[in-house]
Symmetry: D2
Subunit: 284 residues, 4 copies
């Protein structure tokens, strides 16, 4: 049994759904999931399908070729097709905060995440023991003003050597350069510790405390060149009051960051996110 | 332009999605919405589609006939097809509490609800002035132990005379008999003031206070013969603490009841709810 | 039985709590509620007490005088003392949106709000029928660029003539001038339809849609000269997704606005809010 | 600087607050926190105070003695006084599920929990490596029908030898006997994976799935003889839909269980919980 996931977006017009489902039926597939969305402002059509193929001779590559020839050109589609047999490879970039790391590795260990983690990169050695405990290769790549470029080249080498599909900045605390971003467009997931677009940049809990908000939040988004302005994948919030000090906000925020980041990672790894126009369509 | 909504459920098997979408394409329809669900435990397939037809000669009745002959028998489908031109007719049953009534009529007035309210029934006269303000016919049908049967017959007469599609018990405070339920299966929506299945029956806020829960809730469900045990459409909750008296719980609960009931009404009126096995599938 | 509420804030130092509670005991009061807070960053102490006095000869004015002489100077306190017999007077400023108006008047009618509403002011006539239904005097004061100053003078006349304690802008849609703000400092409550500080200013739901946020919010705050930057009283949020159009966000937002504004009004009317440093302490 | 926390409850009557605060002032203490609650139904008064003492000669034991002689008898108080220098000792009882264990130990490691964990007990060996990683002594005490009594005696020996203050059942999966409960009344914290009182007993996620609820929850409560019926400390919920399988509910529930249990542990360890009448007063 082969199973594939298809993601499509294109200009909206008549008969896309019927054409795609009909094509899959002709190829011998049984559609087990379909969801679609139309952005009426932009007139863009989005679709996500999962289809099963029982015939032994099925080949994902052949299907892709046929899909391209039959459908893609006619509808001028952007498309991606994934085999369920291939787990995406995720690189973890960390710094000194351990809460998102513990949370992701705990879920990874328990089989909750449908992905592989070939390695962890950090600019500090502090969290190496955790990587060791979970038996994940740890690469220490220090970053200073002067070595930033070299460091990034080393990171890129590692990413390419392991054929990494996407990168997760689990409170990495470093600004990633345009070079890395352009090589992994909409494939670098960050966790920002505020409900964006409020409190962009450094020390958002301090700003939230100063402003006297009654709700704090966390936001997971794809990294783009503009700081904390990329497409939002997931957000969550928690109520706070005047009784909470900045330290309390930071502690409460840790729980938000963990859940928001791991949810975003799951959505991405399960190919449920489509990006356009600096926004996301989430087929959950 | 004609627009129809199709709801289907049947035993799961191959090619349902392709068959249905293909049929609609052949009938000249453009599918603008499709969502589907498979209950893997029960092996049941559910689908909701919206399709637009631009040809002048389109007739919903003809389409239904063709749909039935082409698809229904082969897949042994349960199905419903609605024209978007026909708004469902909702009867409101109320008693003495006004909060859900104000909320629903306010939304009705502002055009938020896609339905008609031909009349309101109450066993008391207290809320007649509100019905009058909103210019909705009000029928006073008192209910006592002795007159319960007669009262229900009068209700049934009204419901049939106005070809009511579904009934909303907006804190009606009377137990509806099996006769009414059997005539409107999965078409009577109740709001219960607890997060079911906790605190079934009378005075749930008193029970919640006594148990010392830290969360209260409200549940909107279809009425079945078993009290407060019908298929759940919508639930929501609010945090409470030891500082809240029973009166505070009741006041907080009112806000929950309003929102939960109006959401359930909107889901039902927009044909987004399917019922099976005493549960709901909500295509929202 | 007389009951008073005391609000105090001053520089933090030893023995404030004991001094105040001791003073009340000596005056024959029984403290039935006490809560306090210390802002450790600013070193400010806040306290809220409720005390009952059973002796017939009790006079709130005498108590205030005695309180002032005995405590206020020594601790350099800012203080307010309210008799529970006096309900605060609230003026409602509205424009064309009716949802917050319906919500507040529904709660007012049902006895949920501990306040009086002597009149409603609007720059449009659209909502006069609602005020009439609820039998609240309605004053139509149109506002144009040229008449803005005159309009505000008329508003001030009304506010003073009715000895209004605080003003609620229930989606008033006009920027209030510094003259009005300075006469009612921390006594003008606004509802802003975003989770501040995100999306300050006009059309926040449009901005939220454009940014692709997964959570929308509403914020009730005191009005200060800087737009949407006053002390926050209450906030709440709702989850949204790519399926929600701007119109959907506006509809969902209405429910948030109603609840957030009415909660803020209740907190203020029950003398549970203290303001300092552009933030609030909420003794709820 | 010495700091103590005082918890009091007694029949409500006049002058309790003033008497207590006055007493503390006379003993040379500066009250830095006070909160109180009156259960009007039961006529019971509750208070929590924190007070600092700067004089070198301060002794918590002397203060307790003086407190008892001066106040306790007159008001017939139940009372507890804790020195902030003494961290409570918590024993962790676990079985095979690791998520609550990882969560608690992660927080313990990061200094978020104000307590000590002298040892972990489990009826299985599966999670020993985690205890080892965090360098916490692990005691394997198997439990079978026949050995249950012996096992409990071993547990009691350990608890007494380490002068354990409270026990946390972090998904321990065994019913604790009346003997243990009576030795640690309101000192055994359990996490139940439903929003109690819904779905008492085994397999609540299966029951929630079957009932078709739209919200699942988790509840942390003190263990009493009646199963899942003890005083509730903390609850939280998450929205679910028809798309969630039982496995999805279990996964979503794990995140709830972790947060709810760790919050309950923090409230208990910080002496913020008072129990009466099978309910809790939480001074948070």
């Amino acid at each position: 049994m082969n199973k594939i996931t298809i993601l499509i977006h294109c200009k909206d017009r008549s008969n896309i759904i019927a054409s795609v489902t009909n094509f899959i039926a002709k190829e011998g597939g049984n559609i087990v999931y379909v969801d679609q969305h139309v952005d009426r402002e932009q007139n863009i059509f989005f679709m996500r399908l999962e289809s099963e193929f029982t015939k032994d001779s099925f080949s994902t590559d052949d299907f892709k070729e046929s899909f391209k020839n039959t459908l893609v050109n006619g509808f001028d589609m952007k498309w991606r097709i994934y085999s369920s047999e291939v787990k995406p490879k995720m690189a973890l970039f960390i710094s000194k905060y351990d809460h998102c790391l513990y949370d992701l590795l705990g879920r990874y260990n328990s089989g909750e995440l449908n992905l592989e983690i070939p390695f962890i990169v950090s600019n500090h050695l502090d969290l190496k023991p955790i990587a060791d405990n979970f038996k994940i290769p740890f690469h220490h790549i220090p970053v200073t003003k002067d070595t930033k470029n070299d460091a990034e080249n080393k990171q890129l080498e590692l990413l390419e050597a392991h054929r990494i599909d996407f990168i997760v900045l689990a409170r990495y605390m470093q600004i990633v350069s345009g070079k890395l971003i352009s090589k992994y467009p909409n494939k670098i997931i960050n966790i920002h510790h505020s409900f964006l677009p409020a409190f962009v940049g450094a020390k958002p809990y301090h700003s939230a405390y100063k402003r006297g908000v009654k709700i704090i939040g966390a936001t997971s988004h794809y990294v783009t060149e503009e700081l904390d302005a990329g497409p939002i994948i997931e957000q969550d919030v928690a109520h706070v009051s005047h009784t909470h000090s900045i330290q309390d906000l930071i502690a409460k925020g840790r729980d938000l960051e963990k859940i928001v980041l791991s949810n975003a990672v799951k959505l991405h790894a399960n190919r449920k996110v489509m990006v356009y126009n600096n926004k996301t369509v989430i087929f959950s």
